[in-house]
């Protein structure tokens, strides 16, 4: 109890010091906040890139539009033939013309307006899904052959660019993680250095307390508290910067998504990451103070 009371006293005293001399603390907190915000911002960027790219179905696919005059028998014949092509087709989907029109009504938002058409302009179609890993060259001949079929009107496929996009996104993701890692390391170094400066200012105090018989634990305690508090405040600032930035970006992103007929929204920070920011802020501040004060103290006492 007495031990707790003493800790509480140091904590309050440290808080009091911060309020009495807010400027150095504010500067430290600003440095911490910005250095923490950079890797978090990059994390959000990768996070969102991943979400966007997974919304674009990753699999290459081809749409086979049938001729209007194709009969049910033609459809059955093609269906049977496609069923034998398991080596390059992962999944076949048959979409009837009426079904396609209904879907188009919903997707386009034109709805009832399309009822004025006296006949369905859309044909029946097959949608073929190809395995993601299979090189396009492996099935290009078969696709060409399919296009030549008498019941097939035209064939639309988006192949290489999907695969290329996937590869580019993967590369971007790795790059961004690497940069985020470096920034995180930079944050640790910057925090340590900022702490070292603030401790250098208190060097007299440390020496005098050491000379009148203060233990290392006693000397370290207020520094650990102020490091922790500054770390938490820095995390709070970083969090605020990220939130403000997201609010800013939200409108343009929504607008862009609309242009692509998508309802994509910026993904925010997941709760575990938010908690992680505060924990790592506090921990970084605490750790940086511990290391710097301990280094300082090791010079004050004779070895052995």
């Amino acid at each position: 109890m007495k031990y707790l009371a003493r800790h509480f006293q140091v904590f309050i005293h440290t808080l009091g010091n911060i309020f009495r001399h807010p400027l150095p603390t504010l500067l430290t907190v600003a440095v911490l906040g910005i250095t923490l915000a950079l890797p978090i911002g990059l994390y959000l960027l990768t996070h969102n890139l991943k979400m966007v790219s997974s919304e674009w179905q990753g699999q290459p696919k081809a749409t086979v539009y049938l001729k209007k005059q194709a009969t049910d028998q033609d459809v059955a014949r093609l269906e049977n033939w496609l069923a034998t092509q398991r080596s390059w087709i992962a999944q076949v989907q048959f979409v009837e013309a009426d079904e396609a029109l209904e879907e188009f009504k919903v997707m386009s938002g034109l709805g009832k307006a399309l009822d004025v058409l006296d006949q369905n302009p859309l044909p029946n179609m097959f949608i073929l899904h190809m395995p993601e890993t299979l090189p396009v060259a492996e099935y290009q001949p078969q696709l060409l052959q399919l296009e030549e079929d008498e019941s097939v009107d035209q064939l639309k496929y988006d192949l290489e660019w999907v695969q290329r996009l996937q590869a580019i996104l993967k590369l971007a993701e790795y790059t961004v993680w690497m940069i985020a890692g470096l920034l995180g390391l930079g944050a640790l170094l910057i925090i340590s250095n900022t702490m070292r400066l603030s401790i250098a200012n208190k060097s007299d105090e440390i020496i005098i307390i050491n000379r009148v018989g203060g233990t290392n634990t006693f000397i370290r305690r207020p520094f650990l508290y102020s490091g922790f508090i500054q770390g938490i405040l820095g995390a709070l600032l970083a969090w605020g910067l990220i939130k403000t930035g997201m609010n800013w970006l939200n409108a343009p992103v929504e607008h862009l998504a609309e242009l692509y007929a998508s309802d994509y929204q910026l993904a925010g920070l997941p709760l575990p990451v938010e908690i992680g920011i505060f924990l790592s802020g506090g921990l970084l501040g605490w750790l940086a103070s511990w290391i710097t004060v301990s280094l300082h103290l090791s010079k004050l006492n004779p070895s052995k």
Binding site: R6, D204, E205, I207, I208, I209, N210, R211, V212, G213, G214, T215, N216, F218, N301, P302, S303, K304
Partner: protein, 225 residues
């Protein structure tokens, strides 16, 4: 109380600051330490408070063998020794009261007893009215008295001073030295390093004289006999 036996101190620079020092100071004694600049006075005092460790030989204080004292015991050892410095070593951003209270806070003395003892210490050095002031608002002599109050507030059995009058005029110096004399009368062992031969002659106490890291006439030198 304080015992040095064949003590050597070599700094990492290779300089031998103390070469074979042997002496003994009994409890309740008051002793002066003199010698030219660079003779090793400050180094000798630092060995007693374990700011430095002897390279060879044995240092015993209050029965404790300092050569083998583990590092983590050093703070507790220092609480038993009051030290006064030439440059006071006060914290200028804390009041006189807070400066003097520092050794008590460090030892975990409870609040009520703390202020009683700080006032008692300030009373002994005649500064009771100035406890709310900051050190820079005080004269040199007053600052030195704050340093003395801080050195004695924990009621140490040993009081060390490293040229405590170095920055003061003769009159103030005498005043400060008298304070040490009074503490010695109250059973505190006192060891004072000083250049001021005229001043120390007034007290008729034993003098240890250092010359280039060695004691000359160690025990026997009594200026008044």
């Amino acid at each position: 109380m304080i015992e040095f036996k064949h003590v050597f101190k070599r700094f990492s620079t290779g300089h031998d600051a103390l070469k074979g020092i042997t002496f003994e100071i009994d409890s309740d004694e008051m002793v002066f330490l003199t010698g030219h600049s660079g003779a090793g006075k400050s180094t000798l005092l630092k060995l007693i408070t374990l700011v430095e460790r002897a390279t060879r030989g044995s240092v015993t204080v209050n029965g404790a063998d300092l050569v083998n004292l583990p590092r983590r015991r050093i703070p507790y050892h220092r609480r038993n020794i009051g030290v006064v410095y030439q440059d006071h070593k006060l914290l200028n951003d804390r009041t006189v009261f807070d400066n003097v209270a520092l050794p008590l806070i460090v030892s975990g003395v409870p609040h009520g007893e703390l202020s009683r003892r700080v006032r008692a210490a300030l009373d002994k050095v005649n500064l009771l009215g100035k406890e709310r002031l900051y050190p820079l608002a005080l004269s040199g002599g007053e600052q030195q008295r704050v340093g003395i109050a801080r050195a004695v507030v924990n009621r140490p059995s040993i009081l060390l001073a490293d040229e405590p009058t170095g920055n003061l005029d003769p009159e103030l110096s005498e005043e400060i030295m008298d304070l040490f004399y009074i503490f010695n009368q109250h059973n505190v062992t006192v060891l004072i390093a000083t250049h001021d031969l005229q001043l120390l002659a007034r007290y008729g106490k034993r003098v240890l004289q250092l010359y280039e890291g060695q004691l000359i006439d160690g025990f026997k030198y009594h200026p008044q006999q």
